[in-house]
Symmetry: C2
Subunit: 127 residues, 2 copies
DNA sequence: AACCAAAACGCAAATCTTTGCAATTGCAAC
DNA sequence: GTTGCAATTGCAAAGATTTGCGTTTTGGTT
């Protein structure tokens, strides 16, 4: 892989934001520095970064995928299907399962950002 | 929810197939019995069935989501990012994690079909 | 410095999925 | 049976993402 300026700027942007950004949001952000960049170039750069493991992509059920830098501690998310609330859970809650799956199946898990859908505590009470 | 004929036919179709079908494949199949049905109707019916828990949807990284009946024993998949091979793992390997997450976070997990990406044993040897 | 192959890019088109809206249908109460 | 309302549908358009292809850029080699 070559050092693409788009890749670098996306990493810098996502590192500064520390948030889930959609492709469109990433596109807008990096256009401040690369005004002529094309959206498909952003998609391809994001794909490279996800494959290389520096960025995570997740479908949180909002209609478009969201991207996030993976530099700081890994984490995962619980998305409430009723109220849309997003809970964050730490990686150690999940890593154990991944280890077992790796042992049992001789499969090296690369997925680094899990999204689980369900119902949060508050919405469970409501019903 | 009302008894939609499309919902019923999709369930019957997926039950017969016992496979991962794309929305386009579902569309073609049910057109044999409902020739005038619209693709967006199929999408909406699939969404209902997924929400109600009778069908699972997963992005296996093939460009389009795949749908599967959930009637028979639940299972999950490991997708090799090198060769594309799909391994099936049983629900008990995963249910334990879900239980812990439910306890720790008072969150009722509804996700019923997990897709984990990684590298299979064979491809690990190759590299 | 010139050259080459591979990687990245822009653009347009294709593909996949969702959505707004008006029309239709099914179910239940009357 | 008909009336009313909400769920479902078709259609067209919008939105999200991927892809083919010709061009440009990059990094390494001569």
């Amino acid at each position: 892989m070559r050092a693409s300026s788009v890749d670098q700027i996306i990493i810098e942007t996502l590192s500064k934001e520390h948030a889930h950004l959609t492709s469109a949001q990433v596109y807008e952000k990096i256009r401040e520095r690369l005004p002529a960049v094309n959206l498909s170039t952003v998609y391809r750069a994001l794909e490279r970064l996800v494959t290389s493991g520096s960025v995570s992509v997740s479908d949180m059920g909002t209609g478009s995928a969201v991207y996030e830098i993976l530099a700081d501690g890994r984490h995962h998310h619980l998305v409430c299907q009723k109220c849309g609330q997003v809970l964050t859970i730490e990686d150690n809650e999940v890593r154990e399962l991944f280890s077992k799956i790796q042992e049992n199946n001789h499969f090296h898990v690369l997925t680094n950002h899990l999204i689980l859908f369900g119902i949060c505590a508050a919405c469970q009470k409501d019903s």
